[in-house]
Amino acid sequence: MVQETIEGINPTRMELLNLKNREKLAVKGHSLLKEKRDALIMEFFNILDRVKGSRENVERILQEAYDDLTAAQVRMGDLAVQKAALSVKESVDVNIDSRSIMGVVVPVVESKIESKTLVDRGYGFSDTSVKLDEAAKKFEEAIKLVIELGEIEKTIYLLAAEIEATKRRVNALEHIMIPKLENTVKSIEMRLQEMERETFVQLKMIKSSIQSKS
């Protein structure tokens, strides 16, 4: 294995101390990031439980709603359905708050969808079919589920992005930064020992030359 070191560092005691501090910091950061990653993955699993099957559920209810809508269109005609749709009152209101999971800001949606009675919907009865009522009911239900699904999917998406970033950082520290620092520390230590021995030999030689002269 190639022992990679950080280049351009002088083998001095000051640098050695600095590097040792950096190594300590890197190890600490690595363990913290690892904890963060584990916590994020745990959160991720919690949310995965919620997403299970909810997309299928939404798709099924939407399909039913579309079927009813088509039936209504067949009975009343496209234009009449559109006309009725125009007179339906706005009833979907959402309140978006945010929550922080290990520093990841995720949305929390509070949807206020009033369940409406026939009269509240706002279209006339004389020229509408009962199928339209059914379609309206299904769509109201579907919208609620769609918004819930959106919240969950967005949360998963954001968490996944954060997990990936954290993973990358953990790996970079573990496999590149920390070994590099360790190797550099080792090489500087070796270099310093070598220098010590050199000086020792020089001193010995000087001593012997002085002794032989006197």
Binding site: Y66, V94, I96, F139, E151, A161
Partner: protein
């Protein structure tokens, strides 16, 4: 308090209007969908419901506009012809990439 908007074909928008979402954009061309999306992002709409087919067509545009922002939330739904057949389920793919193994389904 903010509200919800729909971008989709005429039937989807009509359906959601009956359900109580009044802001609907009926789009047929990709260009219209992009414009509608831009307009919605500028206002304080926080949830945009869009049909999968349109979303697939303007995927790059959506990614560029939204990126990893929290709001607005874009929710993709199938239109009345059912969900588009995708080669990969994006959510499943994402989970697989993050966890390393297939978890759901």
């Amino acid at each position: 308090m903010s509200s919800v908007a729909v971008i989709g074909d005429i039937d989807t928008v009509t359906g959601f209007k009956i359900g109580g979402v009044k802001k609907g954009f009926i789009v047929e061309k990709d260009e219209d969908a992009k414009n509608a999306l831009n307009e919605l992002i500028e206002t304080d709409i926080s949830i945009i419901i869009i049909t999968e087919k349109i979303a697939d067509n303007i995927r790059e545009h959506i990614n560029k506009k939204i990126g990893s922002d929290v709001l607005p939330m874009i929710i993709e739904i199938p239109d009345k012809f059912g969900s588009s057949d995708r080669d990969v389920d994006p959510m499943g793919e994402l989970i697989k990439r993050v966890i390393g193994v297939e978890m759901v389904k």
